[in-house]
C-alpha cells in the first residue's frame, strides 16, 4: 500500500530524529548538559537531618533525666539555715570569711555549731577571728542589720 505523502514525511521525520538523538556524540553532549545544569544531590539535607535527630535526642534526655538531677540539687529541700556541724565545715567557713588557712584554724580553740534553728526566721552562722579567739555568730534574720 502506498503511504500518503504526510505519513511518509512523518515517518522520515521520526527516523531522522531517532538517528540524530541516537548518535553517541549527541548523547554525550546531552549528558554533559544535564550534569552541568543539575548538580548531584548535596549532603546538606542529610547533615541537617542528623543534627535534628541529635537535637531531638538531647531534648529527650533533658526531659527524662533533668528532674532527677534537679531533685538532688533542690534547694527547696535544704534547711533554711546553714549548719556548721563538722570541723571541716567550720574550717571552710572560716577560710571564706577570714582568708585564713584551715591549718591556722585547727591550731586555735574552735567552736562547732552542732545545730541551729528558729521559729521566727532564717538563721545564719558565720565566724571571724578576734585576736586568738574565733568569734562565732549565730543570727536569726528578722530584719536586723548584719554585714
Amino acid at each position: 500500500m502506498k503511504l500518503s505523502s504526510y505519513q511518509a514525511f512523518k515517518s522520515a521525520y521520526r527516523d531522522t530524529i531517532e538517528k540524530e538523538l541516537g548518535d553517541p556524540s549527541v548523547r554525550r553532549a546531552k549528558k554533559e548538559l544535564i550534569d552541568a545544569a543539575f548538580k548531584p544531590h548535596s549532603t546538606g539535607p542529610y547533615v541537617m537531618g542528623i543534627c535534628l535527630v541529635l537535637l531531638a535526642f538531647g531534648f529527650a534526655g533533658v526531659y527524662l533525666f533533668y528532674p532527677k538531677i534537679a531533685a538532688k540539687k533542690n534547694t527547696a529541700l535544704e534547711p533554711a539555715y546553714e549548719i556548721v556541724s563538722t570541723q571541716k565545715d567550720l574550717e571552710t567557713l572560716t577560710e571564706k570569711i577570714t582568708g585564713e588557712t584551715a591549718q591556722d584554724v585547727i591550731r586555735r580553740p574552735n567552736i562547732e555549731v552542732m545545730r541551729v534553728s528558729s521559729k521566727t526566721g532564717s538563721t545564719i552562722v558565720y565566724q571571724r577571728l578576734h585576736e586568738d579567739t574565733p568569734i562565732t555568730v549565730v543570727w536569726v534574720l528578722t530584719g536586723g542589720s548584719v554585714k
Partner: protein, 133 residues
C-alpha cells in the same frame, strides 16, 4: 546558777553573758564590756550599742539556767555534756514559748559566740556568750 562575782561552784562550767541592744538610733557604744567593740563594728551594721546586763552563769550538767533579756525575752542556757576540755552548750533565745534562736554549740576551751537577731521595741538583741574565762 547566776552569780554576780567570780565564784565557780564545784562541777560547774562558767559562762559569761553580756546582753546588748543594738539599733541605728544614734551613734554610741554604751558598754562596760568593751572587749568586742571592734568586732561589733565589723560584724554588724548598727550605729548604737547599749549594754543592758552582764553576768556570769555557772552551768551544771543537765540543768537549765534562765537569764532575763528584757521585753519578755529570755535566754535559756543548758550544759548538755562535758568531754575533757570541750563543752556542749545549748542556748535558746525565746519569748513565751516561741524560740527565736535555738542553737547547740560545741566549744573547746575558750570561745566567744554572738547569738542574736530578735527585734525588741528597744532594739535588736545580741547576747555575747564567753566560755573558758
Amino acid at each position: 546558777m547566776l552569780l554576780p562575782v567570780a565564784v565557780q561552784a564545784a562541777g560547774t562550767t562558767p559562762v559569761k553573758v553580756t546582753i546588748l541592744l543594738a539599733s541605728n538610733q544614734g551613734k554610741d557604744f554604751d558598754m562596760d564590756n568593751d572587749d568586742y567593740r571592734d568586732e561589733l563594728i565589723k560584724l554588724f551594721a548598727y550605729s548604737y550599742y547599749k549594754q543592758t546586763n552582764e553576768l556570769r552563769v555557772e552551768l551544771a550538767q543537765g540543768k537549765r539556767e534562765i537569764v532575763p533579756l528584757g521585753d519578755d525575752f529570755e535566754l535559756v542556757l543548758s550544759l548538755q555534756r562535758q568531754e575533757a576540755e570541750r563543752i556542749y552548750l545549748q542556748a535558746v533565745i525565746r519569748k513565751g514559748r516561741q524560740a527565736h534562736v535555738d542553737t547547740v554549740l560545741s566549744i573547746l576551751k575558750k570561745g566567744v559566740v554572738f547569738v542574736g537577731g530578735p527585734e525588741t521595741p528597744s532594739g535588736t538583741l545580741i547576747v555575747v556568750l564567753e566560755t573558758g574565762m
